[in-house]
């Protein structure tokens, strides 16, 4: 009798342990697919299929006839089946799937021998994981053959054909609780390098299983970093920017030529400068040179264009650099022309100081001077000021009683104008140049009159931009 009681207790304990170790997994039939279509479970686990597609009739039919949910039905229904033996059990939806695995079909992979008192083995879900260069790969580790007790395993990456610059190394520990056989993951980021190269590999290894678990196969795997740079393409050559701005006193301007979209073979491109309002020889030094990229070379090339720094007051000037005649199969990309704006910084910024030849107008922001040259004068001479108001002033050339010009600079920085205006009227026919400098930006506007020409009035409502 005592033995009988003990046996009964042991049997109940075993049943209880078995019940605790079994798990239920869910598969949803949604539209015309099963999710997940590929499910790995332990022997003794139960799979429950739930239909969420109420428009179409679905069912679950095992390829080998070992289970079926019955005739296809629409509306909400569930069907459960417990798998008592290991193996791959393929199934399909009779109206919408195929026993061959096409369409609405799935597989339940049952692993283990049904022992619920085994901690199981830890392994990668596959021997190879793929990722495009620059992406992040998720590596999955499975617990198979048992789920008894808490277990853990260490993982670490190491260089394969990929080096340390190609990915971010990772190491750590994955842990499972008792009865937990869900897959665990860790991520390995990779680095985009824009180099055309072959695919590279990173090794990942599982080690030091804890809690009585063993290492399953595969315990080592390879991450393949797929190179996404276009092989066999020489690429495109272009400037790095469509516009460059510099000060005349900078001495030079750096123009960057860039190679993108491929690095196959040696390629070159001709870089030439062209005058705009800036003149080669006077404002900058012409450049005409071939820029070469070697095979596999995607490094930016910098070409220096020398600038002439003179003491003459000049407005903003522009010249261009253009690319042409690409070789080695390369093509021109955009931008293939760069506009280089050179600001004259001879018109020094800083507070305007009124003197005998200088008006400070528009609240003192703008420095206004006039240089005139009468017939027979060997060089220009400065006009003399007669102050009027904060915005306007007079100039005389030959005698204070003989006023030549009234000039004003107005702040029209309000909608819809948003500009400083320069207006003047002159009662003269001698040659002159009016210089108006924005002392806050160094920008210069010049207005001229030719010798013998009756000066025309100027109404420049676009003279200077507002802050």
């Amino acid at each position: 009798m005592r033995h009988t009681v003990h046996l009964l207790a042991a049997a109940l304990a075993l049943v209880a342990a078995g019940a605790a170790g079994a798990a239920t997994h869910n598969v949803v039939s949604r539209d015309f697919v099963f999710e997940p279509a590929d499910l790995t479970i332990q022997v003794g686990d139960t799979v429950t299929w739930t239909n969420t597609n109420t428009s179409n009739s679905h069912n679950v039919v095992a390829n080998d006839g070992s289970f079926t949910s019955g005739p296809a039905r629409n509306g909400s229904w569930t069907f459960s089946h417990t798998f008592d033996s290991p193996g791959d059990f393929r199934y399909f939806c009779q109206p919408h799937g195929s026993a061959a695995g096409f369409g609405m079909a799935g597989v339940v992979r049952v692993t283990g021998g049904g022992a619920s008192d085994e901690p199981g083995n830890l392994r990668f879900s596959g021997g190879n994981f793929n990722v495009d260069e620059g992406g992040t790969v998720t590596v999955t580790v499975q617990r198979v053959g048992g789920d008894d007790g808490a277990v853990s395993v260490s993982y670490a990456t190491s260089n394969g054909s990929a080096g340390g610059a190609d990915y971010q190394s990772r190491s750590g520990t994955l842990s499972w609780a008792d009865n937990d056989d869900s897959p665990k993951t860790f991520q390995v980021p990779t680095v985009e390098d824009n180099q055309v190269e072959s695919d590279e590999t990173v090794n990942v290894l599982l080690s030091s299983p804890g809690g009585g678990a063993g290492l399953g196969a595969p315990a080592g795997a390879t991450i393949t970093i797929r190179d996404d740079d276009v092989a066999g393409t020489p690429g495109q050559l272009s400037f790095a920017a469509a516009t460059l701005s510099t000060n005349e006193s900078g001495g030079s301007v750096a123009v960057v030529v860039r190679r993108t979209g491929g690095t196959t073979g040696e390629v070159s491109v001709r870089l030439m400068t062209h005058d705009g309002t800036a003149t080669g020889g006077a404002d900058y030094t012409h450049v005409d040179q071939v820029v070469t990229f070697g095979p596999g070379d995607a490094a930016d090339k910098t070409i220096t264009v020398p600038l002439a720094d003179d003491a003459t007051l000049e407005p903003l000037e522009t010249f261009h650099a253009m690319l042409g005649t690409p070789t080695g199969g390369a093509s021109l990309g955009e931008p293939s022309m760069v506009a280089i704006n050179v600001t004259d910084d001879d018109a020094a910024t800083g507070p305007c100081v009124e003197d005998a030849t200088t008006h400070c107008l528009a609240g003192g922001r703008f420095r206004v001077t006039v240089d005139f040259q009468a017939p027979g004068d060997p060089a220009p001479r400065p006009g003399q000021t007669i102050p009027l108001t904060d915005d306007s002033g007079l100039f005389w050339f030959f005698a204070a009683s003989n006023v030549e010009m009234l000039i004003k600079v107005l702040d029209a920085c309000v909608e819809p104008f948003n500009r400083f205006w320069v207006f003047y009227a002159a009662t003269t026919n001698v040659a002159f140049t009016v210089n108006v400098v924005d002392t806050e930006t160094g920008m210069l506007q010049q207005y001229s009159n030719e010798q013998g020409q009756a000066a025309l009035p100027v109404q420049d409502t676009n003279a200077f931009t507002c802050p």
Partner: protein, 315 residues
Amino acid sequence: MSLDDRSQRPSRPGLTLLAAALLAAAFGLAPAAAAQEVPVLRDDEDLDFDRPEAWAMKYFAMVSMASGFGVPAAREPGAVDFAFEVGWIPSIEGEDARVGFRGTKQEDLDKAPLMARPRVTFGLPASFSLELGWVPPLEVFDAKPNLVTVALGRPLFQGRAWRAGARLHGMTGVIESDITCPNEVAAAGPDLDRNPFACEAPSEDEVDLTYYGVELTAERDAGGAWVPYAGLGISELDMEFQVDAFYNGLHDLSLLTASGSQWHGVAGLRWEGLERAAVGVEVFYSPLEVERVAGAGSETDELLNVRALVSYRVR
């Protein structure tokens, strides 16, 4: 909407079962297995216009659309033109043919490469013309169409070198074909590699195609034999696909319907070098929206085909 009755349509599997029953009887076996009835599936569904199944129906509706080949001519009342149209049907293969069951089953949509249609046009008063067309029910390439088209056209503008006109047109009819279970697939029998859905007989599917719409065309007539033209049209499509297939132990009699508006454009060149005859060649374009993967959003998978028309004025 479900498996609600039983079918015993005479078919190859039916004959096979009958033979099996006779054999079973001859050998003294119970005939129950041979006499089993086939469950019928009726999953009738009104499809979104961009479902892959609807895309396939739109494709065939638009490829069989009778375009005008230029501005409708102002014919004398009683004038009669005969014409013969040939249109190229671009093949639908690979992933494009994966339209069944919301894009999860590959269907055999690559049947006939060409479509031919005789047309006759009658001159009516007030510069109207009435055009009738018919794709007769001749079975070629495992497809039997029976499509009737009608159009009422009239020039609207007649300038020195430009003409413009409009056509109200429509089509109704059916295409019968073995789309769900192609003949060669069903013939593979239990070979799941070649017959993955266990088709038991060639299906007898029917596609009902109906549209009505308007087409506006303009053409330049500079006095020469060549007349270039271009046009735009919009149509209301009303389509049905009646499945009739035995597979996986089922008799699928589901009815899929889809309807919506679809526009198209044409551009072509007509040669009028002879007094009574003309030849036109045109490119037909229609942007067909489709959501290939559920939830992934619609994309345009357009129809672009070339058609030709030869016409002769009888009187």
